[in-house]
């Protein structure tokens, strides 16, 4: 039994193809995050699931029932919009109870259901206010409350935290994760923020140009990205992706050159034929300063973040490495430094950007 199944979904606006064959299965109670850069089609996909956009071709199943031509309100879903989209002329209680009113639920029953949902989100005291009397975070809660009241089969979130300031965003992120656990609901969440994806998702779906690049748990995507796009998109600070040439192979190791004077020694791999140019992916935290290191460069920028220090090292013209150092690092701009890579930490990608795991 799947909560949601997408089969070869396409979306076309005139000559523009926005979605190019999306296949995805969502299990009950799963928290799925759709993530990707702006314009990748993640919101369009969510709106197609919601029933706000037509599906050009392909099939959409909710609880194994074909839903392509079912009206939005009859799909049993609830959506939280980026702008919250609260009804400005109604009180919080009326906002939350609007769907029940439309469904013809009697007034008293409506009141109780709204109150129950308000309790979950600590909104009881705000029920008589109108949206304009609420702060951004409170509005966000009301928007979520409006979704909870309906007891939907699936919650849809369209970048719900992007209008909040940074500290509130972190707080709401935690609350949403707790809410997911409490309600045991299926949730599909759209964001462009990979941190939100990493912290909340059971599984992340990375989208680019209307195509799914990879689906997997946050750590799968972090440790074994399927291609350079996912590698660069997931993780902060971003993974270093370096073009490297295999210059020598001996005794089960391969020597690779980056730029002119930096080298990496990696365990031998079938793809590491001499003379071949590949992309090597290295996470910033997998590099350390090491006097015996084979990578050398000049420190260009240092960012002290308190808990850690980010250091940008130019190893060749146009090639800059991001390195995550400990907080106490005394590195300074202009220093010449040598770096070493943690064994087994390099990821290899072929000329097309595909991972060579």
């Amino acid at each position: 039994m799947t909560a949601l199944a997408l089969k070869n979904i396409h979306k076309q606006y005139g000559p523009v193809v926005a979605m190019k064959g999306i296949d995805l299965q969502v299990q009950p109670e799963e928290f799925i995050v759709l993530v990707g850069p702006s314009g990748c089609g993640k919101s369009t996909l969510l709106r197609m699931i919601a029933g706000l956009e037509d599906i050009t071709s392909g099939e959409l199943y909710i609880d194994n029932v074909l839903m392509n031509d079912v009206e939005a309100d009859a799909r049993g879903l609830a959506m939280v919009f980026q702008s919250y989209a609260l009804y400005p002329h109604m009180t919080v209680a009326d906002n939350m109870g609007f769907a029940l009113k439309m469904a013809g639920v009697p007034k008293e029953e409506r009141r109780q259901k709204v109150l129950a949902a308000a309790k979950i989100l600590q909104l009881e005291k705000l029920l008589d206010r109108t949206p304009r009397q609420l702060s951004g975070g409170q509005r966000q809660r009301v928007a979520i409350g409006r979704a909870i009241v309906r007891r939907p089969k699936i919650f849809l979130f369209d970048e719900p935290l992007s209008n909040l300031d940074a500290s509130l965003r972190v707080q709401m992120r935690i609350e949403l994760a707790e809410l997911h656990r409490k309600l045991k609901a299926t949730m599909i969440y759209v964001t462009h923020d990979q941190t939100e994806a990493m912290t909340m998702a059971d599984r992340i779906v990375v989208l680019r140009d209307g195509v799914i690049e990879q689906v997997g748990s946050p750590l799968e995507l972090y440790n074994r990205p399927a291609n350079t796009f996912v590698a660069g998109f997931i993780g902060s600070p971003k993974m270093n992706l370096l073009s490297a040439e295999v210059v020598e192979q001996k005794e089960g190791t391969a020597q690779m050159r980056i730029g002119e004077s930096s080298f990496l020694t990696l365990p031998a791999h079938a793809g590491l034929a001499q003379g071949r140019t590949l992309t090597v992916g290295v996470r910033p935290e997998k590099l350390q300063q090491d006097a015996a290191g084979s990578i050398s460069g000049v420190v260009a920028v240092v960012e002290h973040l308190g808990g850690e220090t980010l250091c940008y090292v130019d190893i060749a013209p146009g090639i800059r490495l991001t390195v995550k150092l400990e907080a106490m690092s005394t590195v300074q701009v202009g220093d010449r430094t040598r770096l070493a890579l943690e064994p087994g930490a390099a990821l290899l990608f072929d000329a097309d950007g595909k991972a060579m795991h």
Partner: protein, 276 residues
């Protein structure tokens, strides 16, 4: 209130200019109101008289000649009915144009507006013949329908611009909550744009109240509005300025009072989008 508007208030030059324009614009009305209380000789006197013995004889003469309350009632019925019907027809149209636009929507809106460019007299003969054939000459029903239709493009345009101000996501949230188009209109769009709809209605009523062309041409004593009553004072027997002024004053008085009491609403609605 924005800081800009308080600064405008304090600017003496603008205040003086504003008063000059205001006086210039209302002077004809003021002069007409004076003339309504003059005798015909005083009204026609040159140089014009500012001091005179006021008289009500013109109003007496007017009420002997025309049934004021009958025509006033017609004016009320025609302006209310035509405006309400026009809004009821325009709201769904504006909703579709604002939120479910197709590639023809723009052209359709321009075409609707272009109808207003046509001189009404161009349609007079066919419409007159149709009304004769339907036996609807000199009926309030015909006047309501024609006034309603001639104001409809303007009302659709105004409602469209108010509806456009409402974020589409609010209606989409309504759609997810189970509100189909008519309920979106009733529960969301209309309450949210009520100030705009109200001023559209007020404007429609004022236009309908002042409408003279169709009234004069297709109605007579039965369905004629106050516009017809005034017109009957300018005829081949000559211009009776004082009586004409009295009739005009009596005709505009109701809408003037109406406008006075609703001006706050009118201004608020007309600037609704700008200050949001």
């Amino acid at each position: 209130m924005k800081p800009g508007s308080t600064r405008t208030k304090r600017d003496p030059l603008r205040t003086v200019l504003g008063w000059l324009v205001g006086i210039g614009m209302s002077f004809p009305v003021f002069w007409m109101a004076l003339a309504a209380f003059k005798t015909e000789q005083d009204a026609a006197a040159i140089p014009p008289k500012f001091l005179f013995a006021p008289t009500l004889e013109n109003f007496v003469a007017m009420s002997e000649r025309v049934n004021y309350f009958h025509h006033a009632w017609n004016s009320i019925v025609v302006s209310f009915a035509s405006t309400l019907i026009a809004i009821a027809l325009a709201a769904p149209a504006a909703y579709v144009m604002a939120f479910h636009a197709s590639k023809f929507t723009r052209a359709l809106m321009l075409w609707m507006l272009s109808i207003r460019f046509m001189p009404a007299v161009g349609a007079l003969i066919p419409i007159y013949l149709i009304l004769v054939a339907l036996n609807l000459i000199d009926t309030r029903f015909a006047l309501v329908v024609i006034t309603c239709l001639s104001n409809l493009p303007l009302i659709v345009w105004m409602l469209y611009s108010y509806f456009k101000e409402v974020p589409a996501e609010i209606l989409e949230a309504g759609r997810m909550d189970g509100a189909r188009p008519l309920r979106q209109l009733w529960y969301l769009l209309i309450p949210l744009t009520l100030p705009g709809i109200a001023s559209t209605g007020l404007l429609g009523m004022i236009l309908a109240w002042n409408e003279a062309f169709w009234c004069i041409n297709i109605t007579a004593t039965n369905a004629g509005t106050l516009a017809l009553a005034i017109a009957s004072f300018a005829n081949s027997e000559g211009q009776f300025w004082a009586k004409l002024s009295a009739a005009s004053l009596a005709s505009i008085a109701p809408i003037l009072v109406f406008g006075w009491f609703t001006q706050r609403q009118l201004v608020r609605g007309l600037t609704f989008g700008a200050v949001k």
